[in-house]
């Protein structure tokens, strides 16, 4: 899949911009703060309706404007479609596919992008939630049904937490009205937590199984020195349970863990068991990356995770189409040798969008088209 055209209205520092894009490599060049990242951020927004930089939509709308619009012409297997997203921070996005309004949820997985940006350092150094988000986004890109599984799972956790809170409050006053036992209702939410939780767990664990071999290769390509790299799933179910993708086993493990921690859950009034408490343990040469790896190693590992995701999506044989690869500000961090290794790795991608403040940082082998960006306008394309 590639983006053939992009039009922005009141998106970030672009009042109005239009751009035609070709397959292969396109490099956006311009001094700091001109709008290079803003452009590729818009492309990234198409796949998950979120930005890699901000958690809310308000900063995406040009200062002083009410709403932003992203329009993109897409080509997949020689078939053209268009997608239009109106971003309005005060209400739901309006999305059109091929000129017809669709619900954002129906569009999950239509546009596949893999975006690497300096913010991805958080994949290594950040909180478990950063790594969970990475896994789940990739999972949804591979199999859109997980968008629903994840949303439902999160709602079950909120329902369950609300119930744990009220059950905890009621336990002090046994006759506080009502005849039904809150624990009776809790069991009902447990079933849903187990059902959806085991589906999400199986999806994540299977995904990591597939990602690991690719991660080794991409890390070798972009790192200074090769080291054995691994991404292992860390869960809340206790050490005694072996990782598996068998949903029945996972469901059983969830059930047992819920029972084990019931009292603690009631005391703390939060759901302590489930994929929302889990993490991915990244390690280099057997040592955890977080807290131990150098800046350069962490950065290479984050980039390697994105590149491995890219290869996984590209080769997954589904009808999703080859993803669009976005590399924001990568080349400045790499020495000449690693630049050319990275260039070789991504050179045959259907479409790569690269940003660079210094054009000379991008290896000659990866030039492709050049687009100059200056103060929110596209100067020459």
């Amino acid at each position: 899949m590639h983006v053939a055209s992009l039009a922005l209205t009141d998106f970030r520092n672009y009042q109005q911009a239009e751009l035609t894009l070709a397959p292969g490599v396109t490099t956006f060049v311009g001094a700091n703060g001109q709008g290079k990242t803003n452009l590729v951020e818009a492309v990234g927004y198409l796949s998950g309706f979120d930005s890699h930089r901000v958690a809310t939509d308000a900063p995406l709308v040009r200062h002083g404007a009410q709403r932003a619009v992203i329009r993109a012409g897409l080509v997949r297997d020689a078939r053209r479609t268009s997608i239009e997203i109106e971003i309005n921070p005060s209400r739901a996005n309006r999305v059109q596919l091929g000129g017809h309004p669709v619900r954002p949820r129906e569009l999950a997985g239509t546009v596949r992008t893999v975006l690497f940006a300096p913010e991805d350092l958080a994949l290594v150094k950040g909180d478990p939630s950063d790594r969970r988000r990475f896994l789940d986004t990739l999972l949804v890109a591979r199999a859109p049904k997980y968008a629903g599984v994840k949303a439902d799972f999160e709602r079950v956790v909120r329902q369950r937490n609300a119930l744990l809170k009220s059950a905890g409050g009621r336990r002090g006053r046994p006759d506080a009205g009502g005849t039904s036992d809150p624990l009776q209702t809790l069991m009902v939410w447990d079933e849903q937590l187990i059902d959806l939780g085991s589906a999400l767990l199986a999806g994540r664990i299977h995904l990591l199984d597939q990602l690991n071999p690719l991660l080794g290769k991409t890390y070798d390509a972009v790192a200074d020195a090769s080291a054995e790299v691994s991404a292992g799933y860390r869960w809340s179910l206790g050490e005694d349970v072996d990782l598996t993708v068998d949903r029945t086993v996972l469901a059983g493990a969830l059930r047992a863990a819920l029972e084990r921690r019931r009292r603690e859950e009631l005391e703390r009034a939060v759901t302590l068991v489930g994929p929302h408490r889990d993490d991915v343990l990244l390690s280099l040469a057997g040592v955890p990356a977080k807290g131990y790896a150098s800046h350069g190693e962490s950065w290479s590992l984050a980039l390697a995770l994105r590149l491995a995701s890219y290869q996984l999506l590209r080769d997954d044989g589904t009808s999703g189409g080859e993803p669009i690869l976005v590399l924001d500000d990568v080349f400045a961090e790499l020495d000449v040798e690693r630049r050319s290794r990275l260039a070789a790795l991504v050179g045959d991608a259907e479409q790569v969008l690269v940003t660079a403040a210094v054009a000379a940082d991008v290896p000659a082998t990866l030039t492709g088209a050049r687009v100059r960006v200056e103060r929110g306008t596209i100067v020459d394309a």
Binding site: V156, S166, T185
Partner: protein, 200 residues
């Protein structure tokens, strides 16, 4: 802002579900220009529902007498009971013409976020209706979303030991949906394909 009573009317209309400020204004001006007789009929209808319509003492449906039309109808099968969340869901099920039994309205679904637990639903009344053994089959037609599913599971656990066959509408209903918005063909099919609820 408009003056006095006109603004009062717009404000009142704007409090109705699904009516935003723009629609409230449009309806208000429509009423201003309409025949007095038409407006009087509308006002009368609104007053009358409030005065005459109550909730059925048996099933919780809207009713003009102590019992609703369906509960009073001797042709309806007393051995089958369909459990729904709201009276409006009865209308949806009736449209399918697939169902000849009676109903029980819960008045919502279990949702701790909204502070709704089993005690806030008409579950005690339901158990009361099942006590004499007339009802042989219970069809749970709560909404096909998480809260509807949770309510169905809760009821199934509660009722299965009483020897009543409990089934849940088969899917085919859009998940995350509202029963009242399902078209009659889909809902009709869901009724035919209802499945027995397994109690773990």
């Amino acid at each position: 802002m408009y003056e006095g009573v006109v603004q009062d009317l717009i404000d009142e209309l704007g409090r109705l579900p699904g009516v935003g400020p723009k629609s409230a204004q449009r309806i208000a001006f429509h009423l201003l220009q309409a025949d007095s007789e038409d407006v009087r009929r509308l006002a009368q209808a609104m007053l009358e529902v409030k005065e005459r319509v109550r909730f059925c003492t048996v099933c919780g449906n809207v009713a003009e007498d102590a019992e609703c039309r369906i509960c009073q109808d001797p042709r309806r099968d007393t051995a089958v009971l369909c459990v729904v969340e709201e009276p409006k869901d009865i209308v949806a099920v009736e449209r399918t013409r697939e169902y000849r039994g009676r109903y029980h309205v819960l008045g919502g679904a279990i949702s701790p976020i909204d502070g709704v637990g089993p005690d806030d639903l008409r579950i005690k009344e339901l158990l009361g209706r099942l006590a004499d053994g007339t009802v042989r089959e219970l069809i749970i037609a709560t909404d096909p979303n998480l809260e509807g599913e949770a309510t169905a599971t809760y009821l199934a656990r509660l009722i299965a030991p009483m020897g009543v066959a409990v089934s849940r509408l088969a899917s085919g209903l859009p998940v995350g949906g509202d029963l009242e918005y399902a078209d009659e063909v889909t809902l009709g099919r869901a009724f035919e394909g209802r499945r027995r609820l397994d109690v773990p």
